[in-house]
Symmetry: none
Subunit: 292 residues, 2 copies
DNA sequence: TTTTTTCTGTTAGAATATTTTCAGAGCTAA
DNA sequence: TTAGCTCTGAAAATATTCTAACAGAAAAAA
């Protein structure tokens, strides 16, 4: 029985074919003929399609080891699910015909590919180490991004700021970066973002920070920012897109996954911080000034 | 009607999404969630999966133009037949067995699901219309985001700023938003971001902008910001994540796809702008000040 | 606030699907 | 041929699904 349950319904029919009666074989052939669609509608329809009576259908279902027709049909449904529920497959199948031509679909295809390839390159252990590093409040965090990546840096910063204390965002203007260096030492972590075209001042900054003992976590693209040589942990994320611009989707996803992980590690303290934040928002009605 | 019959059921749902009630949207999301398998079982099962009552299912089926639930389901069956009977490449599930345990994989799974589901709800024609709207330099663009979405707004703004002129970013402080309204009229477009928890001042702002004839394009989550009532185009993007935080991955992808589309439409003028920008960077060595 | 409208689930019963029963048809073997 | 058997579908019985009507809840408008 357990063995039987692992077979597809089609296989069960073929296996049991010898033991089926004449009329049941008619039904079996009809079912296999356009499997599994032929099995989707009601018992009445299935029966008449095979030109047999409904009791024949029930009897065969039971012979195949099902409790009844609904049970049989549920198995068919599960098979269909298995067959077409893979995310990528689903996407391919259920978007309009000719979907490959529309930029939205081309982009999505590429984005998913980027995600897969980026993930394949990430060592879960390293991910966990980074998560632990960022979670530990023994270190101050400094976040720096370039032209393209500043929004990502912002995003990460905004969330981390809620999760823990001592998170700093380096401004957009590199000429002021040296000032930040004054406060950075061996116990500090620099989270840097740098994708092509790599920014020279970031390289220099990383070099100096490294020489001061700052631990660097770098988010870069598949080719790797030169700043990687000074970094303790490097995430190489795919950014290719059918566009004149690169895609940050994979990077964002990893950042969000990191946030989820960090959040979990620090939940004890974070929960209180989040509640406090809610209270602050409510009390000051910071976001109500404009309401009529 | 004849036109409608050529759409897939998923497309019909997507097209009618705006006209659906709150509970019906729950159902629609549940159906699209694991489409089309989610629609295969009985009306009772479909209803309880979406946690709505069976009459709601019937009502929605009728709203979508079907005679009743059986008619609706027959359409699904036909679709499956169309899709499954043509030999399509079968994709393996990209993630290994047992991978479900690490947060990174769980997150990736969900992210891809979000992408698929978000895409399933986007009408390519509407996407193209929005792309055309943003591409046209007859309109000024104003971009506004909330607490959570400000980074996305920034990201979109940064890129659009390169692509075209007359793009403005509303500041983070809502109390200054009324000032911007002075410059906004019938020829202007407001690109707004609002996900849960929806921000009341944004709603008010959208209302006033709408009353001044401003066209609004809204990026929101699957439940829909209330500001949607004033918007000409609404993108409902999935944000669920195995995390205390929501995920912006799907939203970012659509933004990037839009940028790619806009970029293509405006390439003539954009090319010049980009070259000019490169020159500016080089000449001023804005980004070299810090180099050793 | 009060009124009106819209929405949504409960209920009941009609429609349909599924299963059981059973009689007769067809086959086989003596 | 005929007794004994299996097989099959008609029809009844049962279970389930589906729909219509309604009333209370929620939301919108006045």
């Amino acid at each position: 029985m357990t063995n039987q349950e692992k077979q597809t319904v089609a296989e069960r029919i073929r296996t049991s074919f010898e033991s089926l009666t004449h009329t049941e074989r008619l039904l079996a052939n009809s079912m296999l003929d356009n499997y599994p669609i032929s099995c989707l509608s009601s018992i009445t329809a299935v029966a008449s399609a095979a030109q047999v009576s409904t009791p024949t259908v029930v009897r065969m279902a039971k012979k195949l080891g099902f409790k009844g027709f609904p049970d049989f049909q549920a198995a068919i449904h599960n098979e269909i699910e298995e067959q077409i529920s893979s995310p990528v497959t689903k996407f391919k199948r259920w978007n309009k015909a000719g979907s490959d031509t529309h930029i939205l679909n081309r982009f999505a295809d590429k984005a998913i590919e980027n995600l897969n390839q980026s993930l394949a390159q990430i060592d879960p252990d390293e991910f966990d180490k980074v998560s632990a590093m960022i979670s530990s409040d023994k270190h101050s965090l400094h976040i720096v991004g370039g032209r393209i990546t500043s929004s990502l840096a912002d995003y990460f910063f905004n969330h981390l700021q809620v999760i823990r204390s001592n998170v700093y965002r380096l401004g957009a203007n590199p000429s002021r970066w040296p000032h930040y260096l004054l406060n950075m030492g061996e116990n500090d972590i620099l989270i840097a973002f740098d994708v092509r075209r790599y920014e020279h001042n970031l390289l220099t900054f990383a070099k100096i920070a490294h020489s001061r003992g700052v631990k660097i976590i770098l988010f870069t693209d598949q080719w790797g920012s030169p700043a990687g040589q000074y970094a303790q942990h490097v995430f190489n994320l795919r950014i290719e897109a059918p566009s004149a611009w690169d895609s940050s989707v994979a990077c964002l996803m990893v950042l969000e996954a990191l946030l989820a992980s960090i959040q979990t590690e620090t939940w004890e303290t974070t929960e209180a911080r989040m509640n406090e934040l809610e209270t602050l928002f409510d009390e000051t009605k910071l976001f109500k000034k404009f309401s009529g």
